[in-house]
Amino acid sequence: MARALPFLWLVPLLPAGLGASCGSEEAPARPTPAATVPSGAEQGSPAGDLRDEAAERGLAYVNRSGEPAKRTVLEANGPGVAVLDLGNDGDLDLVFSQGLATLGDLLRGPGADLEVFENLGGGRFERRPGPGLSGWWTGLATGDLDGDGDTDLVAGGFGGLAVLLQDEQGKLAPRQDLLEGSRDRLVPGEPRQAGEAPLWITSLALFDADGDGNLDLYAGAYVALDPVAPPVGELGEGALSVPCQWKGYKVFCGPHGMRPQADRFYRGAGDGTLFDASAKALPNHVPGYALAVANFDFEGDGDQDVYVANDSVANLLLLNDGRGVFTDVAYSAGVALSMDGRGEAGMGVAFGDVDHDLDLDFALTNFSGEPTSLYLNQKRGFRNETFRLGLQRETNALLSWSVHLEDFDGDGELELFTANGHVYPQADQPDTGTSYAQADTLWHLLVRGDERGLRRVVPTDPRSILFAPSSSRGSALGDFDGDGAPDLVVAHIDGPAALGMNRFPRGNRLVVRCLGPARTERLEADARARTPVDGSGAWVELVPKGGLPQARQVATSQGYQSASTPWLHFGLGAANEYGELNVHWPSGRVERLGAGSAGRRLVVREGKGIVSEERLP
């Protein structure tokens, strides 16, 4: 059942008013910021922070991603991280992708394995054996692929795409090599000829595209890079070669000027296996250099659409026809190119209902010199709010990767987080206007009617993940210590991961987990759309008493190469209770769960309402 009318493309949007004024003609250079959000560090109220407690909590992941000089683009893109519950013990564990010290190591073998960290409870981690993969791993996606009630994993990499199912002991076991036997596969240690590029998967998204209750897979693919003879210094040969340079400095080549690879779509059989359905699902696909992939229901028609952030070229907004066949409508929706009509280096994407109108808006990260953009869903396309918010001014010098729209401080408004760090070590040379290491950033957002607010969280604690410059790539959300507040794990390239524990003042919260009917409860003859067992795609609306409504969707693939928790975190500020809680299931069923008190963690199963609840500490 649709929540809203489907898009009517090419129908007029309503023009907005002129944005906030930024100072007078007489004023010197720096204009005043847009309308400010009340409360925060500048006003002297408790600031809040995301404090890095990785070391004392046993999170000892250290990334390897080639050599410091970054002679190839493969070495610059770094790792992702997945948050999932291994062993169904109720706390969230971590899996990191991993690369190697050199490109030569990949050719010689053995390759890297995924790295697994078990949450022992309360957010203390201990390393566990990996699943035994061998490769150079990049993107991760989570979901219940076989419908057995636990969370499985798909790992993408440079020449690798592996399905891993969780067994009864909570271990991830390789089930399917999706590239097996093809030239897309790179097997570390096996002889390889120059001139062949493996398939380079970056970000992944697991979701049910065709409404059969089984999770399908969208795999974003990047660029054709020959690992045996990668281009160095210039692209092409002879007099018409093109130097690989940035602001006059020699840098690694690509992706621009190299061949983009086509994304893949795999349909899930429901038993943990996937089969390639790219030709049917992506009939007019134009290969780009995909870096980020996220699924969400754009137009409120109940099926899952896909946004693909491409590097250097137009982004894709793939509209689902409900049967898992996708059509790109990004240009007419106003989200293919920058406001200036240029392809930007899309890096990461995150969704959230920023303006409380019960549809999903999204944030898109980009290269330095390009802003992190915020697009507001207008039901018939998107409106670019980047400039009225002042985001270009704030983010122009940053190269941002992973991104989240999350209510860290529990006040009912979403914050914008970006994980930052340049691709080029040469960024530290003189006169680049930017730097290689960059501090991660968090902003309070306010978008209500014509009111706009953007205020950067200024960290006061040197242990804040927002404090020191670093080189971040993937990141994922999850409540690791069970206090009800979302924490953030950030994977850095060539360095240790950070675990940003939520140290914002406690607002009242409601934490919700949505689950579809268990596999045993399904009727095989039931031809209606089904909700996946893990609740993927479920849409939850919460109406606070006296406050603005909030909406969340169960979709774990957000940010960059990473998978966040399926638990949904609602902030209620000072309110102790809410007025309504409604769940729209992918099957079409709507469950209205009525009013309730804040400070709880709820599990809702389709058709059965709230099946468990516990008080938050």
């Binding site: 004024s21 930024c22 406001m339 409106r383 009225r388 001014r393």
Partner: protein
């Protein structure tokens, strides 16, 4: 509305413009300044702002030779914006409060507005550019850049309808400007809002064409800079200018090539093409002759020289060129086809009917479809 617009878009590649032709003859230093600024524009165009800074900071400093040249200040400010942090403040500091020559004051003010746009200070940008918020034209209506920045500021404010008029005028005033694709993109978005899909499509198509052209220009210019002795990038650049209809710029590229490679036949041929496009048929003929000197079997050069001879009434010379082609080793090539027809028509006009028929039969045999007798105009 749409038809008029599409017609306006067709102006994107009009005729020639040549900076040198507009130079005042009196001051050599002015020529130097013009050349310097042209070089800086090129450096910015190929993403080398550091080089502009290296040269420019001293020249635009208060005691520098270009201290009062607003155009020069703007270029160095742009280089600062691209290389310094904080970008806006660094660029603004250079422009704000500087006394510049009256003729370049508008450049500085428009650039300040551009900086405000880049800094999300949209209301201030509009105040700098417009007398009143309702104004239909910028303070400097003769400056294309002013129209562009008003359009960008309105568009970023969410006011695409207001932006459209300014962007359209920008495209009219500066149809080959490197930011025309930006204007066309915004016009396409505005058209989509109105539900005018065909117009949006036309804008997108033209924007893509122009973007591709500018990308190629950037690549060729970079290659020439890195390997100045290589002929191919210069040939490529000249072809780009010819494609854009700017024979003067094509000539400049070819003259630079031929100064280094005086026996480069293809360079001479393209120079002939540039002269021909510019209407200088004598110079074109001379360039084709040089081509043939270094590559006697160059079909196109010989054909074009023959055509010029024919147009000038020099039938014998024309016939000699066409006969050389059709009796030569490359006579069966597709590029030789026009020479077969031209020769047949020359013979027909001279009353040599049998010879004309024989030549025409060969023309048809090779795939020609035009009639022997030239259709009346």
């Amino acid at each position: 509305m749409s038809a008029a617009w599409i017609a306006a878009l067709a102006l994107v590649f009009p005729g020639k413009t040549r900076v040198e032709a507009q130079l005042a003859p009196q001051a050599e230093v002015q020529t130097d300044a013009t050349a310097t600024k042209e070089r800086w524009r090129e450096l910015l165009g190929i993403d080398l702002p550091r080089e502009v800074l290296g040269e420019g900071e001293a020249l635009v400093a208060p005691q520098g030779a270009l201290a009062r040249d607003g155009e020069a200040l703007v270029l160095v400010a742009r280089a600062r914006f691209l290389t310094q942090a904080p970008a806006f403040e660094s660029a603004w500091k250079l422009l704000d409060g500087r006394e510049v020559e009256a003729a370049t004051r508008a450049d500085v003010e428009i650039e300040k507005a551009r900086l405000c746009v880049e800094n999300d200070d949209l209301a201030r940008a509009l105040r700098l550019l417009l007398e009143t918020p309702e104004a239909n034209a910028p303070r400097w209506p003769e400056r294309a850049e002013a129209w562009l920045q008003v359009g960008r500021a309105w568009a970023r404010s969410g006011e695409l309808q207001k932006a459209a008029r300014f962007l359209a005028r920008f495209v009219e005033l500066a149809p080959r400007h490197r930011e025309v694709p930006t204007a066309l993109h915004l016009l396409a978005q505005e058209a989509l809002e109105r539900g005018d899909g065909p117009f949006a499509k036309a804008c997108v198509s033209r924007a893509e064409e122009l973007s591709k052209w500018h990308s190629l220009w950037k690549v060729r210019t970079t290659q020439i800079r890195l390997t100045p002795e290589e002929p191919l990038p210069r040939i490529g650049l000249a072809q780009l200018w010819l494609q854009a209809g700017d024979a003067a710029k094509a000539k400049l590229a070819l003259e630079a090539l031929l100064a280094r490679h005086p026996q480069h036949a293809q360079g001479w041929f393209l120079l002939g093409e540039a002269e021909r496009v510019a209407g200088a048929l004598d110079a074109a003929q001379a360039a084709y002759t040089k081509t043939i000197e270094f590559e006697p079997e160059h079909v196109l050069a010989r054909n074009n020289r023959g055509t010029i001879h024919r147009l000038a009434g020099r039938a014998a010379e024309a016939r000699a060129d066409f006969e050389h082609i059709v009796d030569g080793p490359r006579s069966a090539e597709r590029t030789a086809l026009p020479a077969h027809l031209a020769l047949a028509r020359l013979l027909e006009a001279a009353g040599e009917k049998d010879a004309a028929q024989r030549r025409f039969a060969r023309y048809v045999e090779l795939g020609g479809r035009e009639p022997l007798r030239e259709p009346a105009r």
